[in-house]
Every structure is written in structure tokens, then in C-alpha cells.
Amino acid sequence: MSANDLIRTQDLVNNPVPRIPVCLCLDTSASMMGPPIDELNQGVQLFFNSIREDTVASYMAEIGIVTFGVNVACIADFASLKIQPNAPLLQAAGMTPMGEAINLALDLLEARKKEYKDKGVEYYQPWLVLMTDGVPNGDPLQLARAENRLVDLVNEKKLTIFPIGIGSAADMATLEALSPRRKPLKLQGLKFKDFFVWLSQSVSQTSQSRPGDIVPLNSNGITSWCEI
């Protein structure tokens, strides 16, 4: 028996790659109209492009997008970029029902995790990126429920949240209440691209990590363009 005959490629099991669910929860209210929504669209597109260019991350990252404006909607359900290669176009209009949007994002994350478990797919701690330029004005009960859920998940180390305020009108106090471990960052001007470059690099880093690895998801890499 030659060494080549001991273990052949066809003898091995085919495990699906572990997934990194990333949910972008984005404010598309009327106040985002004009340059902010254009910059945000370019930033999200850049995020998709950067992940796609990384062979490992493109298989592992699953991006979902929830927007809040005229209504609260999931405009892209969790899927890898092999299935969902292009970012959807965001349009600004309406109010800021942030609580409702966060609850929808968390429901979708829970549903996706259940699918992973049912199918024996390993997954990493989910990420939630929350971006807003204003004050939440949806149902206060929904916002309170969202806050409770986020705080519990973050404290139980079941979710990583990146709260980002856009412009001077962003309600940083509410963002801070939603994120017990990570201080919200205020985007400097409209530098969405820099943030999404950093985010895609963090996804790439996480996709190559092994059990026991610590992937630093601190804001050091992005403080140069954020106001804290």
C-alpha cells in the first residue's frame, strides 16, 4: 500500500465552512437624503466588494441588511456573497423607527442561527452594525424592548454591536444605552468608506481565526476618522 492510498481526498467528510453573520441595520430616513445616502450606498458597496475579494471571507461572511425609514424592512436576507454578490440600493425617506428595525434584525439573526444549528453549520458570534443620523421616533416600547434584548445579548457575549452615529444630530445617548460594552462612534463627516474598509478587514481577520484566537475588534483602527 502506498502512502497515497492511505487517505484519499474522497475519503474525507465535506463540512460546510463556518459562517460569520453580519447584520447592517441602517437608517434610511428622510434626513439621510442627498450626500449621506449616496456615501452610505458607496460604503456598503465597498464592503461587499472587499469581502468578495477575500476568498475565505467571501464564503464565510453572510450579510443581511435591515433598513428603517418609510418602513422597517429586510432588504437583503443573510446569504454569502456567492449567492448575493451585489449590495442593494438604499433610498432615503420617512422617519426613524430604530427600535422596530433592531428587533427585526435580532429576529432575523436568531432565525439564521437556528438554521445553522439545524444544518450542523458552525458559526461565529454575530455582528450588528447600527447606523443612524437622528433620534429614534418609532414606538418607544419597541425601542425599550430592543435595548433590553441588545444589552442581554452583548452581556452574554452572544452578539457584537457596532453603534455608529452620523452627523451632529445623531442621538449618541440612545446609541450608548444600546451598547453596554462598546462606546458608540460618531462618524467624522461622511467617511462611510473608511468604516466599511475596516469592517471588511475585521471580517477577514475573524474568518481566519481558530478556536482560542482573539480577534481584536476594538476601535483603534478607526478612531482616526471617528469622533468619540
Binding site: 500500500m1 502506498s2 502512502a3 497515497n4 492510498d5 492511505l6 487517505i7 484519499r8 481526498t9 475519503d11 474525507l12 467528510v13 463540512n15 460546510p16 463556518p18 444544518k119 450542523g120 453549520v121 458552525e122 458559526y123 461565529y124 458570534q125 452572544k158 475573524t206 481566519q208 481565526s209 481558530r210 478556536p211 482560542g212 484566537d213 482573539i214 480577534v215
Partner: protein, 333 residues
């Protein structure tokens, strides 16, 4: 009685990053005890390869020297506490030698020890422990990852005791155990069905047929060419196997497996008759201290000049070895 083999290969991610292979394996036989141990050093711990090495060596010696004490202790919690305490003592000594933090030496740990008809099993963290009984592969201990893929538990974790799994029992028909790190599990353990790849049974059979050196060499080559291509992580494996009624050696292989082992084509004319002769030769050689060409020729009712061809082939394949005065004996005795 037990045959023990091991293998550890640096992962592609570690080659790229210039970090050493953090998977360590140790096998040991002494005092009538056979032990296999495997530890996967934590990726985040800079000296975890030293910790993994120390802890595998320690448990092999500990279970070899004190198997009965550990086996006879009825209180499982006490076993866990005492074992973690002894491991931490070892790592504390090493920490002083290396002038580092305890967490720098973190690793997972998988161990199986067997003495007479008894076995012990220890598992902290990820990786898989499997066993082979009545021709079937089963999982004895699944990976312990918590909820997320990049989280696991280590020898130095505060919850090492609560996440440690221990088992003991009678071997019965168990013919083999296998330990694998999470990197290897990507190729041999299905997360979807929580089951093991059948090729592990083949490796166990081959371990009983071929010399340890050949199996370890072939394993290393196979890991380098096939297994590490499936992951960025280090890959390692340790196994122990013994002959039982369900598999004693060459004669219990299927026809296809015999052809693989003998490197002959299944479509060769009169293949059944030829394999039957090979089987008789191997049976005779395995059951006697040594045989000659003439005695083997009589056994298979074939002239010596034709018997020689069969003999030369099993010799070439490494199944037997030649001794002085024209005698031949099994390679695995």
C-alpha cells in the same frame, strides 16, 4: 497488545504566520498501560506549543503510573478536580521556566488510557475522540465549542473542570480509539451528522497490518498532501488499536482492501484464487514465529518457484520481513 501511532502537521495558517505547530501528540506504553494523548495549543497563547507538549507528556506518565488509582476513584468530580490541579501544577512549573503567564500555555486535551480490560477517557475543549467496535466507528466525545466556532475551552480556563468530560469502562469489543484535533476533525468528523469518516477504520486496520514506522510515515504524507489542505489549522491524530475477534489482521480484510494493501489490480485474472493464497501465506506467517519458502509452498500447494513470487510481493509491500537462514516473519510482531 495495543499498537499506538501518532501524527502532527503544522497548518497552512501557521506556516504563513511563522508560528510553530501547536498541536502535540504523545503515545506511551508502560506498566501494562497504553496511553494516547493530544493537545491543541491555543492560537491566542504565544507559548501554547510548550504547554501542549508538557501536558501530553504529563498525562501519559500519570496514567501509566497511576491508572488504577484514577480508574477506581468513584467520584468523577474529584477526578476532574485532581487532574486539573495536577495539570496546573505542571504548567505552573513550566510558566516559571519560560517566564510567562499561565494563559500563554493554554491548550485543549484529549486522552485515552487502557489497561487490561479497562479504559479511561478525558476531554477538555474541541477535537474529537472516537472508538472502533465490532467494525463500527463511533464518537465517544464530541467537540466542546460553546455556541460559536472560534470559542473553546482550555486546560487553563476557569471552567476547565465544568467543561471537562471524563469516561471510564470495560473495553469489551472495543478494538481502537482515535483522538483528533479540530483541524483534523474538519476532514474526519461531520458536523452535520456528528459522525466519523470511514477512512479512520481503514487506518486502524492498516495499523494492525503494517509496522508502526510505515503507518506513521504514510500518515504524515497523507496529512501533508490531503488533510491540511482542508483547513488553515494544525492537524494531528493519535490512535491505539488492538486485534479483536472482529478484526485480527490481513485475513479479515475485504478483497478490495487486500488488493490495495498488496498493490495489485482487482481485475487481475484469477484474483480470488491469488488472494486466497496470499491469505494463507499471511495467516501462516502471523501464527508461527517464522516460516520458510518450502513450508509456505506446502501450505498453499504451489511449487516453490511460484510461491516465491507471492512471498516477494508481501515482502515488497512491507507485510513481512526476511530473517536469517531463509526464514520470514510478520512485520508487526
Amino acid at each position: 497488545m495495543w499498537k499506538l501511532v501518532k501524527c502532527a502537521v503544522q497548518g497552512r495558517g501557521h506556516v504563513k504566520a511563522g508560528t510553530p505547530c501547536q498541536d502535540k501528540v504523545c503515545t506511551y506504553t508502560g506498566n501494562g498501560v497504553s496511553v494516547i494523548a493530544l493537545a491543541d495549543g491555543a492560537g491566542s497563547a504565544r507559548l501554547s506549543h510548550f504547554g501542549a507538549q508538557r501536558v501530553t507528556q504529563f498525562v501519559c506518565e500519570e496514567f501509566s503510573d497511576h491508572f488504577d488509582d484514577w480508574f477506581q476513584e468513584p467520584d468523577g468530580v474529584l477526578v476532574k478536580k485532581q487532574l486539573v490541579q495536577k495539570i496546573l501544577e505542571q504548567l505552573t512549573d513550566l510558566r516559571q521556566e519560560l517566564n510567562c503567564e499561565l494563559r500563554d500555555l493554554a491548550s485543549t486535551l484529549l486522552v485515552v488510557a487502557a489497561k487490561e480490560d479497562c479504559f479511561l477517557l478525558i476531554h477538555i475543549g474541541d477535537g474529537v475522540i472516537g472508538y472502533w467496535r465490532d467494525g463500527e466507528l463511533k464518537v465517544a466525545s464530541h467537540p466542546e465549542n460553546g455556541e460559536f466556532a472560534n470559542i473553546t475551552f482550555f486546560t487553563t480556563s476557569s471552567n476547565a473542570i465544568s467543561t471537562m468530560k471524563i469516561a471510564k469502562g470495560n473495553l469489551g469489543n472495543i478494538a481502537g480509539f482515535v483522538l483528533m484535533s479540530d483541524g483534523t476533525a474538519e476532514s474526519f468528523y461531520s458536523h452535520q451528522t456528528s459522525s466519523l469518516a470511514g477512512v479512520l477504520a481503514k487506518i486502524m486496520k492498516m495499523t494492525l497490518i503494517f509496522p508502526q514506522e510505515k503507518i506513521e510515515k504514510d500518515l504524515l504524507e497523507s496529512f501533508e498532501q490531503v488533510v491540511i489542505q482542508r483547513t488553515h489549522d494544525d492537524c494531528s491524530l493519535a490512535l491505539m488499536v488492538r486485534p479483536t475477534d472482529s478484526f485480527t489482521g490481513f485475513e479479515d480484510l475485504s478483497q478490495e482492501e487486500k488488493c490495495d494493501v498488496l498493490e495489485i489490480n482487482m481485475l487481475t485474472p484469477d484474483i480470488k484464487k491469488k488472494l486466497a493464497r496470499y491469505t494463507k501465506i499471511m495467516r501462516m506467517i502471523n501464527r508461527r514465529p517464522s516460516c520458510t519458502l518450502v513450508s509456505l509452498s506446502r501450505e498453499i500447494h504451489l511449487k516453490p518457484k511460484y510461491t516465491r513470487k507471492y512471498l516477494m510481493n508481501v515482502l515488497r509491500c512491507g507485510l513481512i520481513q526476511s530473517c536469517k537462514n531463509g526464514h520470514y516473519k510478520s512485520s508487526v510482531k
